[in-house]
Amino acid sequence: MRFVLPKGRLFKGSLEILRKAGIELKPPENRELIVKNGRYELLLARAFDVPVYVEYGVDVGIAGSDVVEERESDVLVPLELPFGKCRLSLAMPKENAVSVEEMDGFRIATKYPNLAKKFFERRGVEVEVIKLHGSIELAPKIGIADAIVDIVETGNTLRANGLVEVEKIMDVSALLLVNRISQKTKFKEINELVLKIKEVVKDEF
């Protein structure tokens, strides 16, 4: 069975929950991106790419609900996992904070252009969305965007950059992902894995 896990903030939690469910995956020692361990193979990918790998054939993956929704991946999501909790929010500089409805014509910087566009469309507000790959908080600071849509965990990063949360767009959590075809061709193995992880979640969290 092949697993794909995200490098970054969800990696430790992902390895731990799988280990508790009886799946020992060795973290890579140097810079390798594929590690084999007996029957299992571990692939390391960028968080944003995990749902795509699962959609196109890797059996199982773990990714945040933010990236699954952003990439609109056609994957099965049998379980929500009890880590990686945070929220996707709209934030802007404290001194000129306005409500969503007053944001017509604003420029929004984000790593989540799809989710941002959909959010403003639902509210009937026309904005320009620009995609950045990181340090989103920088954009309003130097004036290339009026507001940002980004992940908020504690709010410290926002505060440190003089930003306030205007509205929460969605709650985010880590999710267990399963490839649609693997669910059929490896039915028993995958059902067992899902049930085991479910037990771990019930017992430990």
């Binding site: 890797v58 999501v77 049998p78 929500e80 649609r180 075809i181 059929k184």
Partner: protein
């Protein structure tokens, strides 16, 4: 620039040649639809645009486009090979059939056999077809209809936690869990049993976990897949058009082309020698439907 359009085109030409032949052998006629349709609520997918104060859709979903053009239901067996857009500029090539106004069960059996023989014509033998039913689910949630949307969300994501959180009794949850994981050759739904028996292929199964989240499906739905590839090869289902039942399916040609190894081409009969004799033989073979290549 896209990846090599010409080699991709060659593959699609090879595949669609065999699909066309199989669809026609089963009695389907090709339908030629316009690239652009006037916008209507009925059309799904496609890319919308405005022109001269009107709204239009480029390359919408074919089933919805056929129905939008069909004023009165009648018996029709159609097939199409077309690109479909989904809000953007990059399309997906599909090949599919629609059987409208046929007899219940016979229609489903015939379409499933069309799928099987199409794949076999492409030399693809390693596949499965999982057949499910929306009516079975609707019957299972009788009395708890208020949770229908959530139960179907649970089904499409295969997330049973959503059902566990609902305020319904344990017995019902257990029943839904059993259905969720049901896979076999016969079940309590006679219509499905009849279909599976008539199709009579060891690669076809009843699987109630198979759900295709398209708004127009009314009962029987199916998905075609191969253990060799992580994406479905295609799928289809039953729908009703102005009171008449219909059944259709579509292949995703890009996925299919990854499985097709072109080995059929190797069975092309190569003929050499004197042109007169060679072409005489070639002509006879072509008449019999055997592919030929006359050498230099």
């Amino acid at each position: 620039m896209k990846k090599d359009l010409f080699s991709e085109s060659e593959r699609l030409a090879d595949i669609t040649k065999y699909l066309r032949r199989t669809f026609e052998l089963w009695g389907y006629r090709e339908i030629f639809l316009p690239t652009i349709e006037e916008f209507s609520e009925q059309l799904r997918k496609g890319t919308k645009f405005a022109y001269n104060n009107g709204f239009y859709v480029i390359k919408p979903d074919l089933t919805s486009q056929i129905l939008a053009n069909l004023k009165e239901p009648r018996r029709l067996k159609l097939y199409y090979i077309s690109e479909v857009l989904n809000g953007g500029i990059k399309g997906n090539w599909q090949a599919g059939v629609e059987f409208i106004g046929g007899e219940d069960v016979k229609m489903q059996v015939e379409v499933l056999l069309t799928v099987i023989t199409s794949l076999e014509a492409l030399g693809i033998e390693d596949f499965y077809i999982d057949v499910g039913s929306l009516k079975v689910w609707e019957r299972a949630i009788e009395g708890i209809e208020e949770f229908k949307a959530e139960i179907f969300r649970a089904l499409t994501r295969r997330n049973f936690e959503i059902i566990e959180r609902l305020p319904i009794n344990e017995e019902k949850k257990e029943e839904l869990w059993q259905l969720f994981n049901f896979r076999g050759k016969s079940c309590e739904y006679e219509k499905l049993n009849k279909i599976i028996e008539a199709v009579d292929d060891e690669r076809v199964f009843i699987d109630f976990g198979t759900i295709r989240p398209l708004p127009y499906y009314s009962d029987i739905i199916f998905e075609v897949y191969s253990p060799k590839i992580g994406k479905p090869l295609g799928g289809g289902g039953e729908y009703t058009f102005k009171g008449v039942s219909a059944f259709g399916f579509a292949f995703d040609l890009n996925t299919l082309s990854k499985l097709f190894d072109g080995r059929i081409e190797k069975s092309r009969k190569r003929i050499g020698g004197e042109p007169k004799e060679a072409y005489k033989l070639a002509k006879e073979l072509v008449k019999l439907g055997i592919p030929v290549e006359v050498g230099e």
